[in-house]
Structures are given as structure tokens and as C-alpha cells.
Amino acid sequence: MQTLLAGLAYDRWIIAALLWLPVVGAAAILLAPAARAKYIAFGVTLLEFVLSVGLWWAYVPSGPAVQFIAQHAWVRDWGIQYYVGMDGISVFLVLLTTFLMPLAVLGSWKGITDRERGFYALMLVLATGMIDVFVSLDLFLFYVFWEVMLVPMYFIIGVWGGKGRLYASIKFFIYTMVGSLLMLVAILMLYFAAGRQSGNWSFQYEHLLRYAVLEPRLQFWCFGAFFLAFAIKVPMVPLHTWLPDAHVEAPTAGSVILAGVLLKMGTYGLLRFAVPFFPAVAIGGTVGKVVIALAVVGMVYGALVAMVQPDFKKLIAYSSVSHLGFVVLGIWALTVQSVQGAVMVMLNHGISTGALFFLVGMIYERRHSRMLADFGGIARVVPAYAAILTVVSLSSIGLPGLNGFVGEFLVLLGTFRTHPVAATIGTTTVIFAAAYLLWALLRMLYGKITKPENEALRDLTRREYAVLVPLLVVIVWLGLFPGPVLRRIEPSSQRFIELVRLRLPQQVPTGPTVAPQDAPVVR
């Protein structure tokens, strides 16, 4: 496989292909008749996925930190470049995106009936934006696509959403916009600081990392700006309230992409930018403790609120808040296991929660309700649906053998070394997760059929199987054989830790925050 890919010069064109293919597709959709739109979108996203699969072999874990690099000048006077590349973490987030996209398109087949061209074109633009965020190595480029991505999502929620779509989409837009504008200011501060320091004006990631030396007070504010932007996106408590509204109102594909990929951009941003740029502020001192506290509070809080949600979609939205807390905790715990675990949780959450949103969407298309109380006992009528929903829920609960467990376990394992109390509290969320999801299943699937209108529900169609089976395969595969993925993430996680430790000034009491070098190797 490697030789084949090398023969095709895969590493040279793959990012460009992934980035610009959807744009071409979007243009094609706008030119083609409306009835063709979904086929074009599906074809393009499927092609994207097929192309991206090569990354699995083409990415060399033992190779250079960043691979598949492409670099061109864009705005020469200001040092803005089209500069992209991937490390192990980016590779998997891109794979997650390309994997979910065709499924999201296929999942919208029936749900989206009006203005199809617009919808599918926006989905493709969204794909470009998301992939770019994960591969940008130039902060200006990153910022541009970070914002670009907002627009299609805003329209997807605002135009094709449910009854409260306007409120939800505006809330989503304003929340994320507030954060990102402050981030722009912080990026510019870094840019000027690095420029003055080196005499070389550039938005390059490594350049800013090396030369942007700010005084401590400024560091604090700049970190705050980055953190706010990403924490809103994650979302972390108490900045999360846009999420339930956005999820509930978004069409199925919107929810899937929102939960599956967009939230990951927040945690990716923390991992890639906020922490490495300002480790002294982020990790050392009070801020680090506050962030860890917020992560843990979010884990418990999200689970608690999920427990009493009558609306299944909202329940899943709050479970996302809880799961993403794991990711933040893993990043801040700053051990290789916890960071690997955090990345695994990102992937697993994307897959499991994506699948849950698909499942809710499917039942919504049949009954036009997401209220748990409107169902009850439907397992007898739709056995396949019930079986798949049960498996996916169990994966979200973190049952060993399915994907959810590995990531959570690694986060807890890594966090336990440095923050035992946070890890202990975090562990209790596995009870809550089981409680709210099993309770939901109980109310929705089991028992007697409570509503006569559910007697005639149709079980899964072939198209719906086509959406769900790939997700199930990945759920089982990642649960049983996490090794290959972890091996590919490990060097990048290791590098993240080294980068942060290297930049932690000596006077900052590293204390228990940083794992001892001689941490025992797990056998």
C-alpha cells in the first residue's frame, strides 16, 4: 500500500484534493438540476472518504512531526501563507470528518426536501472549512476557515432547522462569533510580537511558537481570548447553552456534523494552539486548576442535566457536554496516555454521538417527535432499530469492547497520575452515563407499546442501514483493536507534551501538574 501511495505521490496532493474537491462539488451542485444535488454531494463526499483512507498508510508515525506539507505564499506583504500539513492527531480528525460526511449526506436523503441544492452545497463548503481547520499551519488561514465554517452551519440550522431555528442559529452564531473575534485579536498580538522579535512577518504556526514572546500579563489575556473561543466551541460549562438549542433545531445532518466534528475543533484548538502557545498560563498556576475544575464540573453537570431531559436530542446534546469534559481533562492532565485518550474520546464521541443523532433523526422522520414520552415499547415494532440504538448507547456509556471505553479509560489512567481527585470524580460519570442512557432506552424502547400510533412504525430501510452499519463497524473495530490508532497518535501526543513542558518556564511550579519522567510503563 505504501509503495502504491508513494507511486501516486499521494502525500503531495492529498490535502489539496480534500480541501478543494468539495468546493468543486458545491459549484457543480449549483449548476446541476436540484434533483441531482444529493447524488453529486454523496459522490463527492464518498470520493473524499476513499481518497482520505490512504492517510492511514501514508502517515508515518515515526516520520517527521508534520507530514503532507504544502506551502504557498498567499498575501506576501503580510506574510500570510497557504500552509497546510498534518500530524497524527490531524490525520484522525480529518478521517473522522471525511468518514462522517458521506453518511451525513446519505442521512439527509429524506429529511431535506426543499432547497436541496443550497443544502448540499453548504454541506460541501462546510467540509472544506472543517478539513482546513484541522490542517492549517498558518494562523491566518486557520482563522479564515474557522469563520468560514460558521456560515454554512448557521444557514443549515437557520434554514433547514426546526421550529425554534432562528433563535438557535442566531445564538449559535453570536456565541461562536464573540469568541472568535477575541481570538483574532490574540492572533494579531502574537503576529506582531513575533514580527518584532524576529524581524520576519509571518503567521506560521512554528514561527509564532518560537518568536512570539509576550509579557506575562499579555499572555494571560491572549490565552483568555484563545481559550474563550475554543471553550465556547467545545463547549465547556458554563458557555454551553448554545449547544442544546443548536442540536435540537438543526436537521439531522447538521446535528451529526456539529457534534461529530465541529465540537472537536474546540478541543483541537485547545490542544494545538491555546495550550502550546501559553503553557505557563494554561497549565501552571490558578488557570490550570480552574480549567480542570470546569472540565470535571462539565462532565458531571452535563450528565445530570441529561438525566432529566424529556427530549432525546437534548439528552444527547448534554451527554456531549459531559463527554467533551473528558477531552479537556485529558489535555490538561498532560500525560501521554491522557492526551492519547483525549484524542480517542474525540474520535469515539464523533462516531457514537453521530450515530445517536442519526438514530434520533430516523425516528423523528417517522413520528415527527423527539420526546421520549411519545414512544415506549417500540422495540417490538422496530427490532433492528432498537438493537442498533442499544449498541450505540452502550458504546456511548463506555462499555468495554466497544469504542467508548478505550478513550475514557486512557484519559482516566493518564489523569490519575497527575490529578487523582479530578480523575476520581470523573470516574463517577460512568454511572451517570449509564443511568441517563439506559433510562432513555427503557422509556423509549422497552415495556408495552404506550401509543397506538407507534404500532405501525417502519423498521430501518436499506438506506438507513447503509448509514448505520459503517458506524457500527467502526464502533466495534475501535473497541476491539484500538492499538493501530493509538500507535499513530502516540508520537504526536508525545510531541505535544514535550512542546508544552519545554515552554513551561522553570519558575512555574510544575509540581504535580507534570507527569514524572520516570512514570512507570504500563504492562
Partner: protein
Amino acid sequence: MTGTVLAALAAQAAPLLACALILIFLRGRPRVAAGTAIAALTVSFAAAAFLVWQVAVPNTASVSQTLWLPVQGGAGLAFGVILDPLAVTMALVVAAITLAVMVYSTGYMRGDPGFARYFGFLALFGWAMLGLVLASNLLQLLVFWELVGLASFLLIGFWFEREAPAAAARKAFLMTRVGDVGFLLGVLLLIRALGVATIPDVLAAATSSAPGFTVPLVAFLLLMGVVGKSAQGPLFTWLPDAMEGPTPVSALLHSATMVAAGVFLVARLHPLFAAAPGVMQGLLWLALVTALASATMAMVANDIKRVLAYSSISQLSYMLMALAAGSVAAGFFHLTTHAGFKALLFLSSGIFIHHAHSNDMREIAGHEPLSQKAGVIGLVAGSLALAGVIPFAGYFSKEMVLGAMGERVGGVVLALAYLGAGLTAYYTFRMVFLTLRGQTPRRQEARDIAPAAHVAGHEEHFSAAAHAAMAWPVLALAALTLVLGYLGGFFATRLSPALPHEGPFHVGGGALVALALVAAGIALAWYEFGRAGALRLGFAERVPALKSFFGDNWYLDRLYKATVIRWTLALSRAAKWNDHTVLDGASDGVAQGTVWGGRILSMVQNGFVQAYVAVAISVVAALGIWLTRTGGLP
């Protein structure tokens, strides 16, 4: 790879394969599904028997593993199989009981619409338990531990169309998960301190007490998992509810799988627990209280399956007491004999339940129970074993348990443990007499039990084949109650070689006391329930307060509802309110404020030039004053 490792892998692979085949391809073909599952468990059984012959008989031990979870620069977490007498003997027990239950189920579950699914879940259960037993790594054990919980969840809630089984399944999963949090934390702590999770390494480190490794804390946390899984102490109330599952499932759940997993874990990691004597002392007391408490609950239950469920809790307590007193052999021996006779008791009670369409012993008694010959033989043999009547299996293992306790603990604990043995005999034979000795006089409060565990699906008459499918496993297990008791020496020499062991028929002072108490218990049961003209009302049932207290799980479920569950829900609602009112209120407030602010400011823009100029001048004036005051201007 040696033959033994291959056999261990085959024992696990066969049921997994069967489970996958059945659930994916054979849902619509019940007979093929059942055949596949039985064939798979036959393979497991043969492999386990081979392992016992190759490993347990010559008393060897080995571990072979392969990498599963690579971790930072190191060896990572390896998964594999551990092959020593404990593991392979347990594997044989698991495979044998699962196989017996499967054969029985072909009769019991005949005609159920979910027949194929049922066998798929049984295979899953078998696989998970075999995986747990053979796991070489604590993390791997944890994985299968959870899978065992999953299989129980699926099987307890098998008749999910009704509320009660679905709720019971959820309760079982959640309650055991509360304990599992402790287990998970214990494993995390252990890996953090030792860097290893391979069982022999963990045990070696525990006895050599590596620096920074707090054995008591780890032992305590791991025990939380045991308490949940083996239905002890405050976390036992899921088990009586789990009776909502099909009766063969109860047989499996109560004997060799699920609840046995907790006891097995303590036996597996015994050196680690033994290194924390304080924790072991606590376990001893907890188990003792549980043993007596559940015996009192069994004394007043009228549902035959609930009586058996409480007796399981009580017997599990005896196993744990033996382990806490330091004897792996006694605890595991009792686990083995109990697996045999408890499966037997459930399977024979299933025959009566099927016949009478009721779980209520008084109703069973009204349906000519004596016509069910296999059931009668099974019930009587199993009861004799459970009560501990010589020479049935339960006698020998209970003797070994009490003997082991006599060596280590004295006085009160031992006396109470003997008392428990007497109570066991009493409630066991209360069950026998209530079930088999004719009509109960009619009383007002006749129906205080759950409805019969039958769904409309398999009401039709039994064929002879179904009868045979149910009878043969029962008779085989009944025969085993006369055989298993002689394995004591086998276990003693292999699992606790350091402890003294007498032959099976060594009747010391302890044995005589126990037998006397058993006789007294049976006599009391005969007087109250068995003899002609008996009132058929036990001494505890005569006191309404006691009857309700014992019959309602000592009010523990009510306590949980009134406290933990209520508080959690209240907290959840408060969090939800906070989200909707405080947080959303704040963001909506900011939005509203912006809108109003905009409106107010837009009023300024009213087109009157005079107003603009006035504002401009006053602002400039204010700025000038402020600047001169602060020294900004010279």
C-alpha cells in the same frame, strides 16, 4: 502456541462466534440458533475439560499474552490467558452450567418469539464469563466483567415488552455499575502505582509491597466491584428483582456467572486481599450481615424464585467469608458445589413454574407438583445440598467454609455463621414443604407476589421432547450433587496448600454442631409447613412488621428511592433549571440589553443638530476637565 493456550482460545472463541452468527444471521431460524449455541458451548466444555486435565490435575500455572493497548513507549497493556487450577476449574464449571442451561432452555423457551435471540445472548454470557475467568490482565478482566454485566442486562430484560423485566435489567446494570466504579478506580490506582496490570505481577507486587502502593485502598476499591457483582451488603437489591428474567437465566446468573464473578475475583487476587487484613475483616462482617439478612428475607418470601435468589446472596456471603478468613480452597469449593446445586434448584423450580404458570409456591402446590418427577427429584436433591445435609455436596463445602472460619475467626462471627446454616436449612425446607406438600389454606393476602413469569408466547402444551430437554439437565445436576462434594481435597491441595485439610468425612465437633442446627431447621420447617394440619405460616411471618421488613429487602430499596435517587434527580432538576433560567437567562439578557441599548442610542440620533452639538461640547468639556485633573494636559 501450546495446546493448552489453543484450547483456552477455542473455549472463548466458540461462544463468541456462535453469538455473532446467531444475532446476525440466525435470528429467523430458532432451531439452528439453539443448535449452534449448544455446539459452541460443547466445544468450550471439551476445551475446559482438556484444560483441567492438562493444567489443574498436574497443578501447573502459566500466563501467555499478547499486546492489546500500546501505551507510551512501553510494553502497553497485554491481553492473554492465565492457565492455573483456579482459572481452568472455573472455566469448566462455567461451560458445564451454561451448557446444561442451554439444553434445558430448548424446552423451557420453546415457542418464545425471541428464541434465537435468547440463545445468542446465552452464548454471549458464556463467552463473557469464560473470558473473565481466563483473563490474564486485570484490565482485561474488567472488560469481561462489564460484558458479563451487559449479558445479564440483556437476559434479565429479555421479556422487555413488560415493564418489570426492563426495569429490573436497568437496576441490575446500574447497581453493579456503582460497585464497578470502585473496581475501575482500583485498577487505575494499581496501574498508577505498579505500572502493571498482569495478574501474577500484581500479586507479586502486593506481597512485596512496592513503595507508594497502598494495598488496603486498592483492595477496598476492588471489593466495591465485588460487592456489587456478588450482590452483597448495600448493593444486593438488584438480585431479587433480576428474577424477572426467564428462569433458566436465573439458573445461570446465580450459579456460575455474574454473581460468581465477584467471588471469583477475590479468589483470583487473594494474595492482594490477604495483604490488607483490615479490609478482609470488614468483608467478613459485611458478608456475615448479608448472609443473615438475606436468610431472613428468604424466610418470608412466597415466590419460589425469590427464595432461591435470597439463598444465593446468603451462600455467596459464605463463600466470601471463607475467602476473608483466608481459605481460597473453601471459598472456591463452595462456589463450585453451589453452582451445581443452585442451577439445579432453579431449573427444577422452572419445571414447576412452567407446569403451574406461577412463581408462587402456594399456587404451585395446588397444581399437583408431585406429577413433575424430575422437578421433585431436582428440588429435593438441590435442597438437601443447599441445606447442607450429609452426604450432599453442600454439606462438604459448607463444612470446609465453617472449618476455615474456625481456624481464623472466633467467637461471635463463627456462632452467627452456624446460626445462618440453621436458618438456611429452615427456609430451604420451608420452600420444599410449601411447594410439594399440598394445598395451603385460603387466606386473604394470597397474592403478594409478582405475576407469573410467563408471556403469552409459549403457553402451548409441552411436547415430550421439551419435557426431556428440561428433565435431563435436571437429573444430571441432581446426580452431581452427590459427586461434587468429594472435590474438597482436590481444591485444598491446589488452591490453599498451606492450610490444613481433613478428609471429606472427617466429622469433628463443628460438623456435628452444624448438622444438629440443620436438623433443627428442617424440623422447624416440618412442624410449621410440612406436617399434616400445619398452619403453613412461619414464625417470622406471624409478625406483620417483621414480614413486611424482611419481605421488602429490609426497606433498602425504599431508602435508596428516598435518598440517593431522589437527591440525584433533585440535583439534576436544579442543574436543568440553572441551565434554562440562569445561564440562558444571562445570555438572552445580554442580547436583550444590546437591543434596548441600541434603541436608546438610536434615540440620540434624532436629527436635531442642536442636540448633536450640545452632546459634542459637553463630551469635549468633560474630557478636558478629566484630563487636566489627572494631569494628562500641561
